[in-house]
């Protein structure tokens, strides 16, 4: 479809951050993902690209959808997938992150998928192991496959990303999803806005390539994509935001605010949603909501990333 696919491909050993990804690399992954979407819609979904390979899901932070999405992606490509449940692991017995990494490394996995509550932890771990590492979320830093699946969702629905105006709304401060999306969407030529109360806007967000708004009505004006973020409960009881009621009134996506966006604007949310906090229930189920598509694209994008990495694995 694009020349970049011919000229460039994803040739990194790890996928840790979106900051350095080139447009060609991203497009190559999206092309692979498009094919994965097709194969996932067949009756027989299983392929054998990763046959004989071991993928370990190492989640230090609870996750339902990302972990199952990676698990499914690995299995559909024929890998042996192991889920490391942190509560059962030696981590809860006081083992350090690096000791855990060394232990796992000795089991000779091919790909490690890691989520950790501390920013930078996944990169630290990647330095200590011999296999490929995929960042499945590190603190408020990065969540690369989320940004890629969002890009895939937008591209398939809108046919393009360049030139679109994307408003990312909510807890930007604590969001790895926001940071990853700002990187990927900017690289692909979109105009990115971040919309939040000042208490949830990180300082100098504009230096990352996002135009900050504290008035959601203005922030949504003419937007092609409205991307809502989850607000964690502990942040909406007086510390960053006074109450869920006030937050929904000024920053929850309802019909009045959505009317400021373009008539064909898409509604996105990385999940899990707090209905009535950041998004009205009727909006979540709106005809222009692509929230469920995002989940499907999640599996496809993760298959694409695994497939690209598989090509680089030793002895392939």
């Amino acid at each position: 479809m694009t020349s970049s696919f011919v000229n460039a491909s994803f040739t990194r050993r790890h996928l840790l951050t979106c900051e350095e990804l080139k447009a060609g690399e991203i497009n190559a992954l999206l092309e692979l993902a498009d094919k994965a979407v097709e194969s996932n819609r067949q009756v027989i979904k299983k392929r054998d690209i990763l046959r004989g390979r071991t993928l370990i899901n190492l989640f230090f932070e609870a996750s339902t959808r990302t972990q199952s999405s990676f698990e499914l992606a690995g299995k559909r490509l024929g890998a042996d997938v192991m889920n490391m449940n942190v509560s059962n692991s030696s981590v809860s017995k006081g083992e350090t992150l690096i000791d855990t990494a060394m232990t796992l490394n000795a089991m000779r996995p091919d790909i490690l998928v890691v989520r950790h509550h501390a920013a930078g932890a996944v990169e630290l771990l990647a330095q200590k192991v011999d296999c490929s590492v995929i960042n499945a979320g590190d603190g408020a830093h990065q969540h690369p496959t989320q940004a890629l699946l969002d890009a895939l969702t937008i591209r398939r629905a809108k046919g393009r990303i360049a030139g679109l105006t994307v408003a990312i709304c909510g807890d930007i401060m604590h969001s790895r999803v926001a940071r990853s999306n700002i990187n990927v969407l900017n690289t692909l030529g979109a105009r990115v806005r971040v919309v939040a109360p000042s208490t949830l806007l990180p300082p100098q967000a504009e230096r990352l390539g996002a135009e900050p708004y504290t008035d959601m009505m203005k922030g949504l004006e003419g937007a092609d994509i409205v991307m809502m973020l989850r607000l964690q409960k502990e942040r909406m009881q007086g510390s960053f935001v006074p109450s869920t009621r006030e937050y929904f009134h000024f920053f929850g996506l309802d019909h009045e605010k959505l009317a400021r966006a373009k008539p064909d604007a898409l509604i996105m949310h990385p999940g899990p949603m707090n209905r009535g906090v950041e998004i009205a229930s009727t909006i979540a189920d709106h005809s222009r909501s692509v929230i469920r598509d995002q989940v499907e694209m999640g599996v496809a994008v993760r298959m694409a990333v695994l497939e690209a990495m598989a090509r680089l694995l030793p002895n392939h």
Binding site: T214, Q237, G238
Partner: protein, 441 residues
């Protein structure tokens, strides 16, 4: 809440007046016409001649100026109605020439929810004779921990936000409140006393406290908090008002902040402009205040700061306390003094003593608070609300607590001689106070 539900029956012409408008700086003979609750016309052409079919008031050359706006009034409603209600406070205000009061959220319960702002507005509409605005709590229960619904409270009519008599010790909370309030353009009014340095202290630290054997509050308790706040304003860009400063070091902090164009303003209570720590004399508890009365050097510095414009606002800091909490040894008595009825007369002492001009004095009680709070009043201007006072600057009188309208009688000026008295107070075109010689009003 404006008191314009009942349009006045008749138009009123004030003739032969000395029109004093601190907003424009004008001080000249003339007249003023009130119609439909607003100032319909004013100027020299109305000095002697009134239009037909209007009620005529001969001002006899006395000062006609905008009614005063008092940004810091404590009442006991809801919860402590035996101390003061919105109704009694409003009558005290009217008698003192105050046409707009901003009531503080230090009540029981604390005004920290939309329904309670509604309550204040409804009770004021039904019972008060002057304009009443609610300042809402910026943290829940004034506890200094969790932000209140600043956006929704503002929509409901809260005019500004404060932590009342308590300073927010938690720097992170203060930062987040300023940051969050900025998005709504909301004004944060903060009492600046470090709660740890003031713990247990009852008056200004210094010679007098040492002689009296009372624990004192150093002026640093105020400047430490104020300097912190100014840094946070610089960090956040939030609109900030230090409610009642008391010492010269604080003014240096304010001057530096203003020189850096930070959105910082400040106020002073009339008590700190006209009284000092020596007035406490032999343990007079009605002069036990927060912040405490300071040394004479600080008082004169505050007056100079007012004259120079470093201080923006004068408040009465009207704080009714009944005898039960005041008739105690000084160290065990409650803080606070009433002041609505004596605000103007006490402030005029500074004019009579030549310490400040009438215009800059009135500015700090009319147009300055009006601008800070976004009110249309506080000015003599066509179309502005007819919130007006007629003042005899020379009329001598003696404060008699038995005649004060406030429900609590804890006046620091009891039995004081005053010069200057409000003759008429008008709110939205309605006369709400008319002076009559003592005892026959």
């Amino acid at each position: 809440m404006r008191k314009n539900e009942n349009p006045p029956a008749e138009a009123t012409a004030f003739l032969n007046a000395r029109l004093v408008d601190p907003a424009s700086g004008k001080d000249e003979p003339g007249g003023l016409l009130v119609k439909d609750g607003v100032i319909a016309d004013l100027g020299g052409h109305l000095r002697r001649n009134a239009p037909e079919q209007v009620r005529v008031v001969d001002c006899k050359g006395h000062v006609l100026c905008p009614g005063l706006i008092d940004m810091q009034v404590f009442t006991g409603e809801p919860g402590q109605e035996h101390r003061e209600t919105l109704k009694t406070a409003s009558h005290a205000a009217a008698a003192g020439g105050v046409t707009t009061i901003v009531v503080m959220p230090d009540t029981e319960p604390v005004i920290d929810q939309v329904a309670l702002v509604d309550f204040i507005q409804r009770r004021s509409r039904d019972n008060a004779v002057v304009n009443v605005h609610a300042m809402a709590a910026m943290t829940r229960g004034l506890k200094g921990q969790e932000m209140t619904e600043i956006g929704l409270l503002q929509r409901a009519g809260a005019i500004a936000f404060t932590n009342g008599k308590a300073s927010v010790a938690n720097t992170r909370v203060m930062r987040n409140v300023l940051l969050y309030a900025k998005d709504f353009g909301a004004l944060i009014c903060h009492h600046t006393e470090d709660p740890y340095l003031t713990e247990g202290a009852v008056m200004n630290a210094g010679e007098v406290a040492t002689r009296l054997g009372l624990p004192g509050v150093p002026t640093a308790a105020e400047t430490v908090m104020l300097e912190r706040d100014v840094r946070l304003v610089e960090l956040t860009g939030g609109r900030y008002h230090a409610t009642t400063l008391s010492c010269s070091e604080s003014l240096a902090v304010i001057r530096a902040a203003k020189a850096r164009k930070l959105p910082v303003t400040c106020g002073v209570s009339v008590n700190h402009l006209t009284l000092n720590e020596n007035d406490i004399g032999s343990y007079r508890t009605f002069l036990r205040l927060r912040p405490p009365l300071r040394a004479e050097d600080d008082r004169t510095a505050m007056v100079r700061g007012l004259a120079s414009g470093d201080i923006d606002v004068i408040v009465s800091s009207h704080d009714p306390q009944d005898a039960d909490v005041k008739r105690h040894p000084f160290a065990e008595a409650a803080d606070g003094a009433i002041g609505l009825e004596t605000l103007l007369a006490a402030a005029l002492r500074l004019v009579h003593s030549g310490e400040i001009g009438l215009l800059p004095l009135l500015k700090a009680m009319t147009i300055n608070p009006a601008r800070l709070l976004g009110l249309p009043s506080g000015r003599l201007e066509k179309g502005a609300p007819a919130d007006l006072i007629l003042v005899d600057l020379g009329l001598p009188w003696v404060v008699d607590k038995a005649l004060l309208r406030a429900r609590s009688k804890n006046s620091p000026f009891d039995e004081s001689k005053m010069q200057g008295r409000v003759l008429t107070t008008m709110v939205a075109g309605n006369t709400v106070y008319q002076y009559a010689p003592a005892g026959r009003e």
